[in-house]
């Protein structure tokens, strides 16, 4: 893990990058990184995230600034701006069942080619996908997702980069931290090594490439 400023962290991300962003309706989203992406105007991003949040918050800020070319998400219904952008064809959105989305990311991070799921069998989600029969039941083959960057927000990070999360701010964060080439983390508090007990580390330090340590 390398400690970096928020500016240096976002400098690493090129225009057009594929970026996984943690958080669920903005809870557990690394807002400092989002703000810096907006400030630096990183455009044409492909964002993989649970939802479009709301205008002015989390992913919503990236959409407000017109920086998202396409998104893979499970729900954008609470962000009217995101719906407008999608219906007007300015932002491409692939809508994926939430359990399938997180499991595709998990597969990407766990070295699997994909997963077989019953979710979406026989409805519009099935279109264009392989159906595989196992034990008499039909499953959809959902392929693994990986990205160039994962932006993670934790409650605690220790000075090595071990992470622990708070309550419902955990959500996608530990899963995306496995599935990207470069993982950048922010934390509410940075603490000395040992403060997070081994049993309470959720994301082990070697997964974290950069930890944002100052403004």
């Amino acid at each position: 893990m390398k400690p970096v400023s928020v500016k240096d962290a976002v400098d690493l991300i090129p225009h057009g990058a594929t970026v996984m962003v943690g958080g669920f309706m903005g809870v557990g989203t690394p807002e400092r990184l989002i703000d810096e992406i907006v400030r630096q105007g990183k455009r044409d991003l492909v964002v993989i995230t649970n939802d479009a949040c709301t205008p002015g918050r989390g992913i919503g800020k990236l959409i407000d600034a017109g920086l998202v070319a396409s998104a893979i998400a499970s729900h954008i219904g609470l962000n009217p701006r995101a719906q407008q952008e999608m219906l007007a064809g300015r932002m491409r959105v692939d809508l994926v069942p939430q359990g399938t989305l997180i499991e595709r990311i998990r597969a990407g991070g766990f070295g699997l080619g994909g997963v077989l799921t019953l979710s979406g069998v026989g409805n519009t989600v099935e279109e264009g996908k392989r159906v595989i029969e196992v034990g008499g039941a039909k499953y959809l083959l959902e392929t693994a997702l990986r990205s160039q960057f994962a932006l993670v927000h934790a409650f605690l990070a220790d000075q090595q980069g071990n992470l622990a999360y708070a309550l419902t701010a955990r959500n996608y964060n530990p899963v995306i931290a496995m599935a990207a080439d470069t993982v950048i983390a922010t934390a509410e508090h940075i603490v000395p090594v040992g403060v997070i007990a081994p049993d309470h580390v959720v994301t082990p330090a070697p997964l974290i490439d950069y930890l944002v340590v100052n403004p």
């Binding site: 669920f24 309706m25 903005g26 809870v27 557990g28 649970n50 939802d51 949040c53 709301t54 998400a73 499970s74 729900h75 954008i76 219904g77 609470l78 719906q83 999608m86 219906l87 959105v93 809508l95 069942p97 939430q98 359990g99 399938t100 997180i102 499991e103 998990r106 799921t117 019953l118 979710s119 979406g120 069998v121 026989g122 409805n123 519009t124 989600v125 409650f155 999360y165 708070a166 309550l167 419902t168 701010a169 955990r170 959500n171 996608y172 964060n173 530990p174 899963v175 959720v202």
Partner: protein
């Protein structure tokens, strides 16, 4: 006491389906109201799919916490004994059949009990969120919906809206009726308060098995 409105009739009737110790996921809208009618002393584990088991009643003003939220991002309470986890675990619980009951809203239910509840193409494209996983994976699926929308029945021979899942739901509760689906057939189990069987039949254009006398909902 003031008679309950349609939404609360539905919610209260569905609460009667819950049993001590169940793991239950409530969708947004009418399903959320179900929690208000759990009998006192009965312990139900409510799941919020953003990663929480043990959601409690709505918080008093000023007691919310920014990292304790429901699936809509709204502040929520956690009861003693609550547990939090990541999204993969949360959907493992859902898809893996660990959720005893899920209660969801509905736009249409067809004659075989298949539900459409996530999109009106061209008009409303919010994304399916967790609905497809919940309907596909929960042990028991209960739909909470008003019987008609703008005077038109929401039961329909074949759904014209995209299906949420091909797995049929188990029970549909409206203000007019309780209808169970089993082996691809619909049975009228109960009628709503003050509702006649003929009225249900007139508003339910699917093949309905009826064994007279049909009892009135006990709420």
């Amino acid at each position: 006491m003031k008679p309950l409105d349609a939404q609360n009739v539905i919610a209260k009737r569905i609460a009667g389906e819950l049993r001590e110790g169940m793991l239950v996921n409530l969708g947004i809208g009418i399903p959320t109201l179900v929690a208000n009618y759990v009998p006192s002393g009965m312990s139900i584990h409510f799941q919020s799919e953003n990663g929480l088991i043990g959601t409690g009643p709505v918080l008093d003003e000023g007691f919310s916490h920014p990292t304790l939220t429901d699936a809509g991002g709204k502040p929520v309470n956690a009861l003693p004994g609550a547990a939090t986890f990541d999204s993969a675990m949360s959907f493992g619980l859902i898809r893996g059949g660990h959720v005893d009951v899920t209660v969801l809203g509905g736009l249409q239910v067809d004659g075989k009990g298949r539900l459409a509840n996530w999109t009106i193409p061209g008009k409303l494209v919010p994304g399916m969120g967790g609905a497809m996983d919940l309907v596909t994976g929960a042990k028991r699926v209960i739909v909470a919906m008003q019987h008609t929308a703008k005077g038109k029945p929401k039961f329909i021979a074949t759904c014209t809206l995209p299906l949420t899942s091909t797995r049929p739901v188990d029970l549909v509760v409206t203000e007019m009726a309780v209808i169970a689906f089993q082996h691809g057939r619909a049975t009228l189990l109960e009628v709503g308060p003050g509702i006649a069987v003929a009225e249900v039949v007139a508003n339910t254009p699917i093949s309905l098995e009826i064994r007279e006398p049909v009892p009135e909902m006990r709420i």
